[in-house]
Symmetry: D2
Subunit: 441 residues, 4 copies
Amino acid sequence: MIKLNTFFETADKYAEECIRIRRDLHMYPEAGWTEFRTTAKVLEFLETEDFRAELGTDIINPDYVMAYPGEEELMAHRFRAMSQGADRSIIRRMEEKGGYSGAMFTVEGAEDGPTVILRFDMDCMGVDEPEDNAHYPYAMDFASKNAGLMHACGHDAHTAMGMVVTRILYENRHLLKGKVKVIFQPAEEGVRGAYAMVQSGIADDGDFALGIHIYPSDGPYTALAGTQTGLYATRKWDVNLTGKTAHAGGAPQEGNHAIMAAVNAISAMNGFLQDGRGVGRLNVGTIEGGTARNVIPGYCRFEAESRGSETVVEERIFEKAEGCVKAAAEMFGCEYEITTTGMSPAGGGDEDLAAEIAAAASELIPELEKTTPVQVNTGTADDFCFIMDRVHANGGKACYMSLQTQLAAGLHNSYYDFDESVLLAGVKACIAALHVTGTIA
Amino acid sequence: MIKLNTFFETADKYAEECIRIRRDLHMYPEAGWTEFRTTAKVLEFLETEDFRAELGTDIINPDYVMAYPGEEELMAHRFRAMSQGADRSIIRRMEEKGGYSGAMFTVEGAEDGPTVILRFDMDCMGVDEPEDNAHYPYAMDFASKNAGLMHACGHDAHTAMGMVVTRILYENRHLLKGKVKVIFQPAEEGVRGAYAMVQSGIADDGDFALGIHIYPSDGPYTALAGTQTGLYATRKWDVNLTGKTAHAGGAPQEGNHAIMAAVNAISAMNGFLQDGRGVGRLNVGTIEGGTARNVIPGYCRFEAESRGSETVVEERIFEKAEGCVKAAAEMFGCEYEITTTGMSPAGGGDEDLAAEIAAAASELIPELEKTTPVQVNTGTADDFCFIMDRVHANGGKACYMSLQTQLAAGLHNSYYDFDESVLLAGVKACIAALHVTGTIA
Amino acid sequence: MIKLNTFFETADKYAEECIRIRRDLHMYPEAGWTEFRTTAKVLEFLETEDFRAELGTDIINPDYVMAYPGEEELMAHRFRAMSQGADRSIIRRMEEKGGYSGAMFTVEGAEDGPTVILRFDMDCMGVDEPEDNAHYPYAMDFASKNAGLMHACGHDAHTAMGMVVTRILYENRHLLKGKVKVIFQPAEEGVRGAYAMVQSGIADDGDFALGIHIYPSDGPYTALAGTQTGLYATRKWDVNLTGKTAHAGGAPQEGNHAIMAAVNAISAMNGFLQDGRGVGRLNVGTIEGGTARNVIPGYCRFEAESRGSETVVEERIFEKAEGCVKAAAEMFGCEYEITTTGMSPAGGGDEDLAAEIAAAASELIPELEKTTPVQVNTGTADDFCFIMDRVHANGGKACYMSLQTQLAAGLHNSYYDFDESVLLAGVKACIAALHVTGTIA
Amino acid sequence: MIKLNTFFETADKYAEECIRIRRDLHMYPEAGWTEFRTTAKVLEFLETEDFRAELGTDIINPDYVMAYPGEEELMAHRFRAMSQGADRSIIRRMEEKGGYSGAMFTVEGAEDGPTVILRFDMDCMGVDEPEDNAHYPYAMDFASKNAGLMHACGHDAHTAMGMVVTRILYENRHLLKGKVKVIFQPAEEGVRGAYAMVQSGIADDGDFALGIHIYPSDGPYTALAGTQTGLYATRKWDVNLTGKTAHAGGAPQEGNHAIMAAVNAISAMNGFLQDGRGVGRLNVGTIEGGTARNVIPGYCRFEAESRGSETVVEERIFEKAEGCVKAAAEMFGCEYEITTTGMSPAGGGDEDLAAEIAAAASELIPELEKTTPVQVNTGTADDFCFIMDRVHANGGKACYMSLQTQLAAGLHNSYYDFDESVLLAGVKACIAALHVTGTIA
C-alpha cells in the first residue's frame, strides 16, 4: 500500500498539469491519421534520454492501415502541426518511420511481473466547435483553432490522462513490476487505427489490456464502471461500381447500368440480417451516381456499415453484402471495388477483472462517487476490441473502463464538454486498475 | 404449263382423301415428341418399295433435342399409338433410330434442279376438345379420342396436306427438277423440334425452304399470304434453384433461401428489356417453392420465356436473365439449373420470293380469293425459322406461307376449327410455290 | 402441510390412470380445432352432476378464432370422433355452443383465495407415426390410428395431466382456497387457439396463470424449470395476390403481374428487420403462382411468418410487411388479401414466482432430480403468452413450467417419445405450483 | 410562280445577313428560358412600327411552364443579356409580360388563306466551346463568350433562318395569302418550352405546322427530308424522397430509409417496359442521397426519363413509375415529390405533305443536292410534337423538315459545326414549304 500511495501522490501533483495539457490538445484537434502535433506533444512531454517512444512502422503494420489520407493531405497536416508548435525533429522522426502518427512508450518495472497494454486514443471529430460563451471551452478560450475539427468525444482528455499516467509510471518505475506498454493510438474514430497496431505485434505479449473512455453518467456524480461489455463488431465500407455509359434512348443495350447494379445489390443485402447467433445491423447511408438523366449511368458509389453483437454475425453480413455487390455487378456488367475504411470486432472486458477494478477504485479513489463492475452499451463500437481480442487470445484479461460524468451535451455533439475534475479521477482509475493487475503492488 | 397442270390435276384427285386423312389425324392427336401414330400413318400412306422415309437419328441430332419426355412416358405413347392402329413394324423402325417421332421423304426429280425443304408440323396441343354439337369435329364424329389432347392449331391439316403433296410429287416425280425434301416435324408447339432436325444437317443443302400454316383471315374468304415475316425469336426456359433448409426462427443463418434467390433474380431480369435493336419480351409465368412457413425454403422453381423481334435482342435478354439467376444463386448460396425447353430464332420469308409465289398462286389456284405477298404477325414465333435461317445461310430463299381462312375460334382455342376446303387450297399453294422455285416447270 | 399431502396422495392414486389416459389420447390424435374426441374424453372423465364443463362460445370468442377449418371438414372430424368412442351427447353439446372443441372446468374452493388459470393444450401435429417396433408407442400398441396425425409434441401428456390434476382438485375441493379454472385449449400448434379464449374473458379474473410443457432435458434425469421465459412473439400469415392474365408476348400491358407484385413485396419486406428494441425474424416459406410461361400470371400466393423477441418488434415487422404487400399490389394493379392464421405475443413467466415454485417442487416432489427457476428458449413461441399477458395486465403473476425429461427424439419429430413416469411428476408439479399460489395451503 | 420567285430573290438578298446573325447569336448563347438577348435581337431585327412581336404571357401559359429557373438566376441572365447588347426597353417589355423569353410574329397576308405555324427554337446547350483553331467558330472568332454554354445543336442557325424568313414574309406580305405565325420558342432542350406555348392557344387556329432542324447528312451534300417522323414521346422527371434520419446502430426502427425507398421504387419500375403497342424506354440517370454511413438516410433524389414510340406507351411507363415511387414511399414511410421538368408527345409530320414539300424543294432550291420525303429518327424527341399534335387535332397537316448537311461533329458535341451555306438552303426550304401550304402562290 505504501507503494501504491506513492503513485496516487504523484497523480495529485499532476492534477493541474493534466488540465493544462487537455486544454492545449483541445485547441489543436487533429483528425484520424493526422495527429502529428498531438503525437509531438506526447513525446515532448514524456521523452527523456533513456525513455523514448516507438513510432510509425515499429508499432503500425502498414498492410492493415485503413482509410489512410493521401500524401498531399498528410503533408498539409504536418505543416499545420509545425505551425502550431509541434517539434520539427519529432515530425521528422515520424516521417522516417513511414509518416504515421501515434506512439508507444514502454515503462519497464524493476521486478518481474505482468505485461499490461494501456491504450489511449488521440483523434478528434469533423465537427465545428461553437463560438458561444455558453460553451465552456470557448468561454475559457481553449476552443478549437482548426476549422471543422473538434474534440467532441473526449480523446483530448484520454490523451492527457495517458500522458500523465505514463509520467507517473516513469517517475515511479522502480516500484513497478513487469511492464506497461502505453499506446497512444491514432484514428479511433471510424475504427481505423487499432487494427494496424495490433497487426504489428505490439499487443502479442500482453497479459492485460486496459483502456478508458469518458461516458455520460446518469446523474450528477462521477462514476466508474470497471469495464464496458457488449461492444458491437462493426465495419465501414465503401462500394464503387463502374459501368459503361450509353445513350439511354438510342442504345441502352450498350450501357452497363451502374445505378441498377447498386439498386440490386442493396436490395439483396437486406436478406442476410437474420442470425440465430446474435443481432446484426446494415445501413447504406449514402449513395451517389450518374451524370445525366438521358445517359445510362457509368458509375454509382455508396457508403455502408455493418454491425453485429457477435463478430461472426457482422462478418456474415459483410461477406454476404460483398457477395451481393459482386453478383449484382456481374448481372449488370459492372466492375466493383469494396474498400473497408474501418473495422472492429465485437467484444468487451472480463467481468471478474472488472469487479476487482471496481472494488479497488471504490476503495482507493475519493473522487469517484459510484462504481459498478460493468457498463453495457448496446450497439456502440470501439476498436480497442482488437487489443482486447489479442490479449484474450493469449489467455490474458481485459478491462475497458467507463469513466462516467455529466456531460454538457452528448458524445459527438458540438456542445460536448465535461467537468475537468474527471481527468484526475481517470488517471487514478488507471493506477487502481494497474494495481489490480499486480503491476503496482 | 402442261407439266404444272398435271400436278394440279393429281391434287384434285386427292381432295377427298386429304379430308379423310385430316379427320383421322384429328381423332388421334399426339403431343410433341410422341407423334408415333401420326408418323406411322404418314409412312403407311407414302412408303413404297422404292420410296422410304428417313427416321430418327438420321434426321434428328439427339444433342439438340429439347424438352424430351421420359422413356416411360414415351413407351406409354407408343403403346397407345399401336392400340390406335399404328403399324407395329414402323414403331419398331422408329425405336431402332433412337425412338424419335418425325420423318423425312426425299422426292428426287428426273432432271437437275434446286433442292427444296418443305416442312409440315404434326403435334397437337394440351387442350380438351369440347363435346358439343356446335363444334364441327364433335358433330361429325371425328373429335379427339385422346383426353386432354386436341389439334387446336391445325397441325392435323398441315400433316394431311404434307402427305398429299408428297404423294403428288412422288407420282409425278418424272416431271420434277432437282429434289424436294419433305419434313414431317415433331414438337413444333413449344418450339422444340426444328432445332434438332436442322442440327442433323438435313437442311444444309437447301436452296429453298417452304412451309405453310393455317391462319385466321380477316373476312369470309380463303387467302394466301406468300410469306409470314416478323416472327419473333423466342426461348422457353425453366429455372430450378436449390438452397438449404433451416429453421427460420432458430438458425436462419444456416439456410440458403431459395425463394429469396428467385425473388432477386426475377427482380433484376427486368433490367435488360431495353434494346435499340428491337423489341424484347420477358415473362416469368409460374413460380413454386418452399414447404412450410417456418422453414427457410430449400428450393424454388420458375418457368419463363423470352422473346425478341430480333434474335440478338432475345439472346441478350436470355443471357442477362441467365446471369441474373447465376448471380442471385451466388448471393444466396444456392445451386441453380436453367433448362431450355424450346427455342427459335427470329425470322421470316423473303419478300421477293413471297411476291412471286403470291402472284403464281393468284393466277393458278381458283380456290384462293385473295393473295398478298406478306403477312406480318408481330409477337408470334415458329421454329420453322431455324430451317429458314439455315437455308438463308446457304444463300437460299425462304417462304412461310400463311393460308388464311375464317376460323370457328382462334388458334389454341378448344373450339378451333376451319372449313376443310382449305386443305386442297393448301396443297395447291405448295405446288404453286414449288413451281416458283423451279422444281416444277 | 397435511392438506398438501392429501393432494399428493390423491395424485399417487391416479398414477396408472394417467398413463392409461395418455395412451388412449395418443391413439386418437386430433389436429387443432378438431379435438372433438379429446374434449369428449375430458368431459367423460371429469363431469359429475354438479361439476360441469363450459364449452364453445362460453369460453371462445368466435371473432378471434384463427385458421378455423371449413364446416364440411369439421363434420368429418366429429363423425370420426364418434366412431372412435366419443360420447354422442357431448358432441351435440359442443355443436350447441358453436361447434368448437375445448373445455373449461372451474373448481371452486371452500374458502376465499386467489383465482388461478391452469392451462393444458390438446391438439396433435400433422406427422405420420412410424410403424417401427423401436418406437415405444407402436411396440406397446398405442400408436396413432389417425393417418397423418400424431401427438409428437406431448399434448397428449399435457391433457392427461390436466385431467388428473382437475380430478384431484375436485376430489379435494373442500381443502381448496379460491378457485382454479382449468382450460383445455384447442389449437396451440400454429398459435391459433389461446387468442379467442382470452378474448372471451375467461382469464380476466386470473391472479395467477399456470401452464406446463414437456421439454427435453440435457441429461438422463427428470427436471423442472419453474418457468419458461423469452418466448418470442409470432404471427403466421398468408398473402394472396390477384392480378390479371394477359398474353405475355402480344399484350403484356394488359396484364397485372401477380408474381412481380409478390417479388417486389418480398424484396421490400426484408428492409424492416432491424430494431433497437429487440430481435426480429421474417420468413417467406412457400410461394406458388401462375399457370403458364407465356401468360402474365394472374395470381401468386405465399405463406410467411414473423417473430420478435419483443411483441412490438414483431408487430412492426408484420405491419411493414403488410404495407409492402399493399404497396406492391398497387404498383402492379393487383388485389391482395392477408390472412393471419396464428398469433402470439412475446412473453414468459415471472422469475420470482418461478423461484418459489422451483423451491417448492424441489422439496415436495421426489420424482424430480433437478429444479431451476428459469428456462430460456430463445426463438420459440407459445400462445400461452396471451393468457400470461392477460393475467399480467391484472397485476397477476405467471409461470410456464418446463417439465424436462430425456426424449426419444426431438419435439415435432415422428420418433418423439418420453418416459411416462414424467406424467406423475407433471401432475405433482401442478400441485406444488398451486401450493405456491396459496390455493392449496 | 412570279410571286414565288420574289420570295426566293429576297432570300438571296439576305444570304450574308443570315450568316452574320447566326454568328452573333453563336457568340452569345443562352440556355432554355433565359434567351433574353436572343429574343431582343429577334425583335431588334424584325420589329417596325406596324409589325410588333407578341411576348410572354400572350404566348406562354405560365401554368404549363416546366423547369423554370429561379428569379435570381433569371435576373442575372437579364443583366448579362443587357451587358451583351440587348435593348434595355425590350427586356423591360418581356418583364411586363411575366418575364419570359420567346416571341411570336404574325405576318398577315393580303388575301384569305390558311394559317401556318412556323416554329424556330432558340436555346443553347450546357457545353464548353473548345478554344481550338481546328474549330471553325473559334478560328473565325465567333465562339461562345458565355462560359459553359454553346450552340451545339444548331438553334443559332434555326433562329437566324427564322429571322430572315420572317423578314422576307414581312417584306412580301402583299403577296401572301392567309397568315404565318412565326414562333421563336424558348427551351426546346429538355423539351420544356413548347407545351406552355401550345397551352396558351397560339397554335389552335393552325392549318399547318412547319418546323426545321439541321441534321447530319450521310454524305457530302446538302439534303432535305420533307419531314421527320417517328419522334418519340418523352418525359423528364425528378423524384425527391424525404424520410427520417435515425441512428443506424441504435434505433434503426425510428428512421424512414429514403435510399431503401428509392431502391425499391427503381427496382419495381422496370417491370412496366413491355407494351404490345410500341417501344418504351426508362432510365434512372442520376441518384444522390444520405449524409453519413451510420445514419438512416433522410433523403434520396433521382433524375429519370421515360420514352415511348407511342405517347400511350410513355404515359403508361410514367404512370406506373409514379405508382412505384408512391408505393415505395409508403413502404418506407417517406414523403415523395415527382417533378416533371420536360415533356413531349410522340409524333411526326404527315407523309403526304412531306412528299409535296420534298418535290417542291427539289424543283425550286438549287442549293439542295438531294430530297426525300421522310426521315425516321428512332428514339429522338422534340417538343415541336406538341405543336404538330395541336394542328393535327384541328384536322391540319404538319411537317418537320430535316435539313441535312455534313457536320464537323455530332449534335450536342462541343466540336459541332456546319457549313453556313446551309442557312440559305434552310430559308428557301421554309419558303418552298409555305408555297406547298398555299400561303405563297
